[in-house]
């Protein structure tokens, strides 16, 4: 009998969970559903659970802010916008499922996918289905290669790797550089490859390269000791913020204090739960967005984001926000309406994106090539007193 009661209780729990799950997801749909019959339906997928959850959540939150702003200001060409975000746990299989779910919903253009590996899987589906896609943050070149309707708003990996090398040779030319990267990860390995190639041609001194994998991302004492022994005073970390936080803590514990230099994956470290943000003081990273920028656009966005979610938005949030506005600009310039078919929208958007110039949070005068890659300027920031400050 006890077991039976337990069973009943579990059923009750599931039901209540279903209730709150349903109410949560139906709330935004209801608010935009009663506005007008015809709406633009934009969808996005990214990890909002699991290891890379900060990225997906940032994109989701920021996109929702942008969509709400647009709807409040009268929508795109007079039509309201609906936005739906699906979780993909940064996994290719789940991402394709999430994309198909969005297509069932009637999505007309995709803002995504957030992570590289998943985005490559989705991008081939997008290409087959002729759906226009603009990814905020999937930076691998394989995402856009050979697909005319797949665009990136972030830098491609090679640009991050070579950009970092160029910045170092301009500002820290005689540094002894150590690289610690994750060699079972497309993103990390991709940046490391282009960085090392560029560093060699610029004459930078790479004294040590250490690797780790997903399974060994909990202890870096070997790599840090080796980097210290090799005399490295600049440690390049082309990795995500989670292992980077462990590296920073362990380096601090062993009294090793080189300059740490990261790329966009490092973004998010300040808002990570359970991490002492003071350890990130002095970390440099290459990012197109800094939340302390003085322009009106950034200030408003940061204020709104802080109001809604209680934290400073990172670069992924800014990328997501820009994606929605870039989409708006293109849709308006092409005079698109929601009753156009997905293919028609796709062709119109491709024509716009390859010819327009966009000003957003993550850069001004952004343009896109026919290969889908964006051209904009990265800026180096340094973390001071818990905020990004543009490095001189």
């Amino acid at each position: 009998m006890k077991k039976f009661i337990a069973l009943v209780m579990v059923v009750a729990m599931v039901m209540s969970m279903a209730a709150c799950g349903a109410s949560e997801s139906s709330a935004p749909a209801a608010s935009s559903g009663d506005a007008a019959a015809a709406t633009f339906k934009l969808g996005s997928t990214g990890p909002i659970t699991g290891d890379a959850a900060i990225y997906g959540q940032a994109v989701m939150n920021a996109c929702q802010i942008a969509v709400d702003e647009i709807n409040a200001a009268g929508g795109i060409n007079g039509y309201q916008v609906e936005f739906k975000f699906e979780d993909d746990v940064a996994d290719g299989e789940t991402a394709v499922n999430a994309y198909n779910t969005l297509m069932d919903w009637g999505m007309q253009a995709l803002i995504g996918t957030v992570t590289s590996g998943a985005c490559i899987s989705v991008s081939s589906k997008v290409y087959e289905d002729r759906v226009f896609a603009l990814t905020p943050s999937a930076s691998s070149t394989d995402v856009t290669a050979g697909k005319d309707n797949m665009f990136q708003l972030c830098f491609a990996d090679p640009n991050q790797g070579s950009g970092s090398a160029v910045y170092m040779s301009a500002n820290m030319a005689d540094a002894k550089i150590a690289v610690i990267y994750r060699n079972d990860d497309a993103y990390s390995q991709g940046i490391r490859d282009t960085f090392v190639t560029e560093a060699a041609s610029l004459g930078l001194d790479v004294v040590y390269e250490g690797t780790f994998t997903a399974d060994t991302a909990t202890d870096f004492s070997v790599q840090l000791t080796a980097a210290q022994a090799a005399g490295a005073d600049l440690v390049f970390l082309p990795i995500y913020y989670q292992p980077a936080s462990v590296i920073l803590s362990q380096a601090d514990a062993m009294g090793y204090a080189p300059t740490f230099f990261g790329v966009d994956g490092m973004d998010g470290i300040l808002t990570m739960e359970g991490f002492d943000a003071s350890l990130a003081e002095g970390v440099m990273l290459l990012t197109p967005f800094s939340a302390d920028a003085e322009d009106e656009l950034t200030k408003n966005f940061v204020a709104e984001y802080q109001k809604r979610h209680g934290e400073t938005p990172n670069q992924f949030a800014a990328d997501g926000y820009d994606c929605i506005y870039a989409m708006k600009q293109a849709l308006e310039a092409a005079n698109c309406t929601p009753d156009m078919s997905v293919e028609e929208l796709c062709d119109a958007l491709i024509a716009q994106f390859t010819s327009m110039s966009f000003n957003g949070l993550t850069g001004t005068d952004m343009t896109w090539g026919t290969n889908g890659e964006v051209s904009k300027m990265p800026t180096a920031v340094v973390i001071e007193n818990g905020v990004y400050v543009t490095a001189e």
Binding site: F4, N183, A186, T211
Partner: protein, 353 residues
């Protein structure tokens, strides 16, 4: 049907059920009654069914706990992708290439199974589980080091042990393309997998496994599971029959892997980690050890379930876990079983067993 043996009858019911399910889904798909989300999951469902059925051979029929089944899937997936992509120019027909890829995947995974089986099957119980787990991880790490490209001269393969090599080190001729880029995995794979191929693969694995189980060898394998000492005493060759089951299981997992790999344009070696092995083991345990039909149903339902729970938003995986616990409790609950017994007539239940 009267003069057929009871087990044969049962096997035919299994085949018939799978065929009917395939026909029903195809007809509904053609009529536009299925959502895209469901259609997109058909191929992975087929792959997971074959994985579960083949693992059931090792865990349920042979009685050895293997925690490295995803490793064989990985071997099959990447060898299948290499085969399909390198033959892209030579064989234009995607169907033929898919068949070749599945055969190559099965062959490589079978060889890997034999290599691993020789030392591993000397161990028993927990030790075997631990060593298969380690082998699964080793396979993952090895594939992480693999860089493969193809050009007009043929295949180029390097083994990136130091981690410092890239695709450029393949020194491919103009027009060459990378198939596997080490840690970045297989990218730009042409997706040629289809639901029909998945169905055929399920049927082939069912025929192989069910016939093996009902054969003299199958009885020997089950005898080893039930009492090894007694089996040995009547002259059953332990190593031979263990290897037979283990290698068959590995080869089928390899074919499933090849089908899976050719369904996505990007595939990372980390996909086939310990979690995937456990996932397949969960299918087998929930479906019932030794129960092939149960494995099929469990694999299909548990693959679709997370997608059906999307309306739960953030609580999706939590609900998934609760449902798993519920199923476990439910299938072992005497009261529920009694209730089912009252509802379903005895004769029907006997046939379903």
């Amino acid at each position: 049907m009267k003069n057929l043996k009871k087990t044969t009858k049962q096997d035919f019911i299994t085949y018939l059920a799978v065929i009917l399910a395939f026909i029903a889904i195809t007809v509904m798909g053609d009529a536009g009654m299925l959502s895209r989300s469901f259609k997109g999951q058909l191929v992975p469902i087929c792959c997971y069914i074959v994985m579960a059925v083949s693992l059931n051979l090792t865990v349920g029929i042979l009685g050895e706990l293997s925690l490295g089944h995803a490793g064989f899937m990985s071997v099959g997936a990447f060898s299948g992708i290499i085969a399909a992509m390198s033959l892209q120019a030579a064989i234009p027909s995607p169907v033929l290439r898919l068949v070749i890829a599945l055969v190559v995947g099965a062959a490589f995974a079978g060889v890997a199974g034999a290599l691993i089986g020789i030392p591993v099957l000397r161990l028993r119980g927990d030790y075997l589980a631990i060593v298969t787990l380690a082998f699964g991880e080793i396979i993952k790490e090895l594939i992480n080091c693999l860089i493969v490209g193809v050009d007009s001269k043929g295949l180029h393969i390097i083994f990136n042990v130091s981690g410092a090599k890239t695709v450029n080190d393949l020194h491919m001729l103009e027009g060459g393309r990378a198939i596997i880029k080490g840690a970045q995995g297989a990218t730009g794979t042409e997706t040629i997998a289809s639901f029909t191929a998945g169905f055929v693969l399920i049927m082939i694995s069912l025929v192989i496994i069910l016939n093996l189980v009902r054969s003299r060898s199958g009885r020997a394998i089950m005898a080893l599971r039930d009492n090894r000492i007694a089996a040995e005493s009547v002259g059953i060759n332990v190593t031979k029959y263990k290897m037979m089951a283990f290698v068959t299981s590995a080869a089928l997992a390899g074919a499933a892997g090849a089908l899976y790999g050719l369904n996505y344009s990007n595939l990372l070696a980390t996909k086939f980690n310990f979690n995937t092995s456990i996932l397949v083991l969960v299918f087998v345990v929930l479906g019932g050890l030794g129960n092939i039909r149960g494995s099929i149903i469990a694999a299909a339902i548990l693959t679709v379930l997370p997608e059906m729970l999307r309306s739960f938003a953030d609580y999706r995986m939590l609900v998934y876990a609760i449902v798993l616990i519920l199923v476990m409790l439910g299938t072992n609950n005497a009261q529920l079983k009694g209730l089912l017994a009252k509802i379903i007539p005895t004769k029907l239940r006997k046939e379903a067993k």
